[in-house]
Symmetry: C2
Subunit: 199 residues, 2 copies
């Protein structure tokens, strides 16, 4: 019985997050109330509060889940076999594409990003660390295969990640989309040059 | 006579900009009115409007002047003789330092930056192009001296500039100041590695 009820509870939690994400996307984080989320699910706001103590807690979970998908995809590319350079390029391109899909354009999730960066920095920092770690693992594979040279792996991955800010950071993606600058492929070439063996 | 009156007019224009910059710094762009600026100068708002048609026009001129100082300093470093690597590092560090002094911290000029990026993108783009050009000239000197390798100069300078976004972009400087990441010296090393000859 405990297992079944835990299962149902988990299920309700997931449904709340799913509806919350949809509403954040459609009408924006600020305008969505816990009442709206409850109404869509045909439950009472009190029931939503049994699972999340506040709208902020819902926001955190939705943000974690959106970021988690990017992390998972990054780890999948890192774990796959094959030449490093091609996968390194795929990794950086995938992070850019997924962040663009998630936070830029018509949908209103960018409001969530701004709030996360004002109020939930820990969630963002944890995400950036996971992404930097995935990039670091990829660089380590390149060092092992002789495709890269990086005496300090952690530093190399931080620099590679920082160099890609225009293409990774939701606010920068939105701001720079129509501004002069390198294409993502050109930028990745530059990062690869910075990691290439000297001789 | 024409010369003297032009001189006085230019002088008044400069004084308006000087006071406007001080007020933008102290009380913020939004809260400063043309009336405040006129009052400080003991002139009528109508007289200010003889020189600038709107507060936005004053904003543009203050922004141009603040950005112009950075451009001038950048060009000074580019024009100076001496080994390229040291001056390249000085150039990138100076842009970072001057942008930090101007737009980050206690003073309220960052409000001006946000407005400039929402409303006056042309002013910002022109500035970024001038900074990118200065970096490109420095890279060209490095190619000539054999310190750098860059088949496409314009592309190399755009990539170097983009890689430094965390340290150049006022919003990113403010946002990243307390976040994990490379130091500016480490980042410059990475950029230099990307520009270094392959063999």
């Amino acid at each position: 019985m405990a297992l079944i009820s835990e299962h149902i509870e988990g299920d309700t939690r997931d449904r709340i997050l799913e509806v919350a994400e949809r509403l954040f996307r459609q009408i924006g984080y600020q305008k969505t109330t816990v009442g709206d989320i409850a109404k869509e699910l045909r439950m009472s706001p009190a029931n939503v509060y049994r699972f999340f103590e506040s709208k902020k807690a819902i926001h955190q979970s939705v943000a974690r889940s959106l970021m988690g998908e990017v992390e998972l995809e990054a780890q999948r590319i890192v774990a796959r076999p094959g030449p490093v350079l091609a996968r390194f390029r795929e990794l950086l391109t995938t992070i850019h594409r997924m962040n663009t899909e998630r936070y830029v354009g018509d949908n209103k999730l960018h409001e969530m990003v701004e709030i996360a960066m004002q109020e939930d920095w820990e969630v963002c920092v944890a995400h950036m660390e996971l992404i930097t770690t995935a990039i670091g693992q990829m660089i380590a594979q390149g060092v092992a295969s002789g495709e890269f040279e990086a005496p300090d792996l952690q530093l190399a991955s931080m620099c590679a990640c920082t160099a890609m800010m225009r293409f990774f950071h939701p606010q920068m993606i939105a701001q720079c989309a129509t501004k002069p600058g390198p294409t993502i492929d050109q930028m990745i070439d530059f990062v690869i040059a910075g990691l290439s063996p000297r001789h």
